[in-house]
Symmetry: C2
Subunit: 192 residues, 2 copies
DNA sequence: AGTATCTGCCTAAAGCCTTTAGGTATCGGA
DNA sequence: TCCGATACCTAAAGGCTTTAGGCAGATACT
């Protein structure tokens, strides 16, 4: 009886791959056990329960996405940064739909506070710093950007724009453009 | 043995109520059977399967939401209409989180084409008519509005804005305001 | 009214998922 | 080498889905 070499990390990664293949809500402890050719009960030595598996996948995805976004943001500012941020987000969701869905899992407050979700918020604020918004506006803008990006990507993944012209990526560009204009309009009157 | 008087319609409505109470993905044929104090198998005379139950709830919610939106839109135009649309959407999600989640269920193309989803799109376009956009822009705008509203409401329901100032409804107002400004800016140069 | 049919809900059963309890075999260190 | 820790296993209970077939109210026809 050769050991399979299970660890929480390997299970999480395999779970993420499984999510991309069959959808996040089809990720089950049973399916994962089959993938490792191991009995279901064996996984319960490494995972507290099914919920923990999902949470781990979510945290992993948040981390991975934050890394990607950070990379594409490097050295950019203003509209350029906004577009890079948006594209990193959308590309990740298209490449890894299951992980993206995982990243949207509702986490309990403590878990969320310790997650890469915090980095996402920081990066969003960093982009907005390029637009000179006053404080309450900046928070509103963070929320708006989050909403648009999340909303668009969800709708696109759900196939909402599939059978209609124009192409989804044109709309994406138009939206990013519009958001940039909007934020520039909201900027505090320059102090020059 | 008194008959329970099950019909697909009653099951759908009860399913919608159940969704609001316990969450759409906790809606199961079993839970519904318990609610009617009837054996599980009995429901299968009225429903093909669990998926059909969910689809019916989704269609019901889309219809109900479209009715509400239509009501709040009556007699309004321009920014007033935009705000009414947005509020109807958000209010519905807050009052009926389960039904709202149901309305986001992915439907197969034919079902979707025959659903109230079509009315939603028409109403969105009706609002945009107040902004004089050229054709491709109008489509982009439809997509953007859908994204923002859906995204914001999802994030708010997921508790994303819960423990931070300012209040979610201020951000909502700010966003609606911004969208109005944005659309006015995109309007085709007036022909006066 | 009396009977025949039909339909609504029931019991039974199989299949899959989760989770817990307790057993056995393997690996690494003394 | 042996011994403990640990990795994976068997067994079992409980829940959800779905199908097959049965009994009894409800409906309809004479």
């Amino acid at each position: 009886m050769v050991r399979a070499g299970l660890t929480p990390e390997r299970l999480t990664l395999a779970g993420a791959e499984l999510a991309d293949e069959v959808g996040f809500d089809q990720v089950t402890v049973s399916a994962l056990a089959r993938r490792f050719d191991v009995k279901v009960a064996s996984l319960y030595s490494h995972l507290k329960n099914s919920q923990e598996l999902k949470t781990r996948i979510a945290l992993f995805a948040l981390e991975e996405l934050a890394d990607r976004v950070a990379d594409s943001l490097a050295g950019r500012a203003g509209k350029d940064a906004l577009a890079a941020f948006a594209d990193a987000y959308r590309d990740y969701a298209r490449e890894h739909p299951g992980r993206y869905a995982a990243a949207r899992l509702r986490l309990d407050p403590e878990t969320a506070a310790a997650s890469a979700g915090v980095r996402h918020a920081q990066m969003t604020r960093a982009i907005l710093r390029g637009y000179d918004l006053t404080e309450p506006d900046q928070t509103h803008a963070v929320r708006m950007l989050g909403s648009v990006f999340h909303g668009y990507v969800s709708l696109e993944l759900a196939g909402g724009f599939e059978h209609s012209a124009p192409d989804a990526r044109e709309s994406w560009a138009w939206i990013v453009d519009s958001l940039d204009a909007l934020l520039r309009n909201r900027a505090t009157p320059s102090h020059t």
